[in-house]
Symmetry: C2
Subunit: 491 residues, 2 copies
């Protein structure tokens, strides 16, 4: 709290890094690329988990748990899957250490070499489909709708807290179906759930779309995604849902007997969101004073800070604060009364701003006399003096308003930063000025996509769903296009 | 469902293994010693997690997340800790695979060798205390009360589903304190929480005690434990809580400035329970027909099975079943109406017995006429016909009774199988007949403890807390003893 945060306009990247650390969300560990998620950060993640888990269960999914380790040979069974993940995986080769004969410490015991190396799961399709083989015989065993909450490891070369870490936490849904249509419907249903979660809980508007072949999940027939826009004009992929076709069923020989007794390969999906969402949440809403949290995900929704000159005043304020806290808790609102005398009110105000507590109540001697309290909103930084009568209901409504207002602000920002562009010059100019989502025509070839990426660092975030039909010519090649796609530089 | 389970008296071990698989709790995976926790098993674990997590939070703990990987050198920093864990740990040595130049498949890329090997955490004291070093400067930063839910890996040579697996799920609490007394109080508090959870949720009576030096956690000053008795007369350690003294603070140089400005090493605790509890739950209560679940942990508390001859009857029964279901759900009771026509009622009865559903309602044509329903208890296998009037409240009370009754049965069993023994002959006889908890005098030396273990395979489960003062002579050495300890063969 000694130094101010770097501002977003000064250095957006440093602002993010510092904010994550100072707001007690996460920090780097001694193991390169692995983070420690601190209690305050973890409590936001827990709220995300709970909300998502409820949505998964409401749509008929159950949780299970599959092993951390994948035999090396399993990874190779699906050709494009191994291509996508082999280059960045942690490999377990031994199962024992022994004392270093040359001195202190321990060394790997060469006699404890594994016959087959194990991969720390980068994602679990292979281990799960090898299991599904035993669980699925008949159409009666389908659909299989399973999710797991787990840690995964991808050996990333450049890492950033929450956005790209070697180990991260996520959920991965893996479902099996008897028809292609049902699997596609599941893929789309989960995409919609992710979008709903992002918008209703994270207050984050997202574009739903389909990835190009280049950006597809390794092993998928089709990858759906939600894309969000950050305040620096860069895009962030916030969740993906994959239609796997029969690829993993083929690789692991998973067949079922249909109603006519015919053996068919099973159709699959997988879908996931991760602690990356924490990065999206932070970057989408926060400001130069610190975090701005949508009330639905805030670990502390209301903080009460007493302003007092003596013990007697503090006691009287505490009494009122206890009443308010009780009334708020009754409405399911989380509240903290910070009566510690180690810090002055000004320090506390700054601290709770940094932590993104949506509503701050300050109560002093005059408030006691008048039966009022000062109510400050974190998102707009506005204050008003409010009567204590019906204060809990007032705050309940206020929290709803804040949630909506944060969403609307993010939506307005995205709308302002979504631009139709019809020439490559304009495209380049825009990328180098404000960035944002750029809607442009593309000829549909990977070649053009890659050239644009090389020259501009912008990628096709998605081919948006439900867009208006419009033909045109590719901004790069001049060849015909079937519709605009969303370009952006991205996290 | 085709074959009956092996019975407990025939082969207790086989009965357990088969029950775990057939009741859809867990199965072995392709990776030696790693299990797949199936959806039904996982939903029981989720209930355990929720209950424990609530208890931890009520006592001021928060969750966080620390890395999966531990640098090899960290493990060595606490001498007895490395001694305890080095022999059974999974070691990551490389971070990439590459295509096998000699053919298909992938091999470990020798160019991607890590400078320092990483250990997959067998427990997280080292990585957490290395982090605490940066979090703790002053007495104001203490106590630090943190828990994490995580997977851990210990390379076990002989594994059994839930009881001993290479990878398992657990929670590990890691707290830091400014005084020894406060750390000891925390250690004892968490032991009491585990005991309360075992008794109130798992319906499992436990003995609270302290481990001998031999059985202590590697790195602890003192290990407290809860020990439960299984139906085959073997003990099962169901949870441990460790007073770490200043051992890890020393190893990682974690000091704090006390109120007088003096630098002191921090005092620590750690405590954990794991998916092993699932094994305890299964083995403590289940019978030859399958699982017996205490209602508080049962994913489905009530199942309704219709018995019908035609569509019309089914429709009428469905109507009533829907009413009952609604009334039960209103009381927070989980209920399933199984109206599938793929199986006959008898098959369904056996299936829900196998799965341990505490209450089964069967409703047929005569019940419709009479306004009744047949209510069957899983634990006692008794049935009665009950009026539909007030059925939901009747079942609510019944579920409470079942919970209590399962606990009382387990308590009576334990009491019957807890024996004071005063000679080594009697000790041996008892071990080879019914087993159980054997209360015997011991001279307090590791030497005697080890000899008894070698000769009888029985270990000292714990030195019980709160036992009556009684001196005597060691059953093995004849030397003086300060009190009886609990011996048993154990899982």
């Amino acid at each position: 709290m000694s130094k101010a945060l770097p501002t977003r306009s000064e250095n957006y990247s440093e602002w993010y890094n510092e904010l994550v650390k100072r707001a007690d969300l996460a920090e780097n560990s001694a193991v390169r690329g692995c983070m420690v998620i601190k209690p305050y950060g973890y409590s936001i993640w827990e709220k995300m988990q709970r909300a998502l888990d409820d949505m998964f269960k409401e749509t008929g999914h159950t949780n299970a748990y599959f092993p951390l380790f994948i035999p090396k040979s399993y990874l190779s069974k699906e050709a494009s899957h191994v291509e996508g993940f082999a280059k960045e995986c942690a490999v377990v080769t031994h199962y024992r250490l022994k004392n270093d004969p040359d001195g202190k410490g321990v060394i790997v015991d060469p006699d404890a070499k594994l016959e087959e190396e194990l991969i720390v799961r980068p994602t679990s399709e292979t281990v799960i489909w090898s299991t599904y083989k035993n669980w699925i015989q008949s159409y009666r065993d389908l659909p299989l709708l399973i999710n797991q909450w787990a840690n995964v490891v991808r050996w990333e070369m450049r890492t950033r807290l929450f956005l790209r870490t070697t180990e991260f936490l996520w959920q991965e849904g893996h479902t099996a179906h008897s028809t292609s249509a049902e699997a596609v419907a599941e893929t789309e249903q989960m995409l919609n759930i992710y979008a709903q979660f992002a918008e209703e809980w994270m207050a984050l508007p997202v574009v739903k779309g389909v990835k190009t072949a280049n950006e597809r999940f390794a092993g998928a027939v089709n990858t759906y995604c939600i894309e969000a826009l950050m305040q620096d004009g860069k895009a962030l992929q916030a969740g993906t849902s994959h239609f796997l076709g029969q690829n993993f069923a083929n690789a692991f020989d998973v067949k079922f007997q249909d109603k006519d007794g015919k053996l068919e390969y099973v159709w699959g999906t997988s879908w996931g969101v991760s602690t990356r969402l924490m990065g999206a949440l932070i970057m989408a809403h926060s400001d130069d004073a610190g975090l701005v949290l949508p009330p639905k995900l805030a670990p502390i929704q209301v903080v009460i800070v007493p302003i007092y000159k003596n013990e007697e005043q503090l006691n009287l304020i505490s009494e009122k604060a206890t009443e308010i806290s009780k009334a708020l808790k009754k409405l399911g609102i989380s509240v903290k009364f910070d009566n510690s005398d180690a810090y002055k009110p000004g320090y506390k105000f700054a601290e709770y701003e940094l932590k993104g507590v949506p509503v701050r109540l300050a109560m002093g001697a005059r408030d006691l006399e008048n039966g009022t309290v000062e109510v400050a909103r974190r998102d707009t930084k506005t204050k008003e003096t409010v009567s204590l009568e019906g204060i809990a209901e007032f705050i309940q409504t206020l929290l709803d308003n804040i949630q909506e207002s944060i969403y609307n602000k993010a939506l307005a920002f995205r709308d302002e930063n979504t631009t139709k562009v019809d020439s490559f010059e304009e495209f380049n100019q825009l990328l180098d000025s404000k960035g944002g989502f750029i809607l442009a025509h593309w000829d549909g070839t990977s070649e053009t996509e890659e050239k644009i990426k090389e020259e501009t660092k912008a990628t096709i975030r998605c081919i948006p769903l439900n867009q208006e039909q419009e033909s045109g010519v590719c901004i790069y090649s001049g060849k015909p296009s079937a519709g605009r796609v969303v370009f952006a530089r991205a996290y």
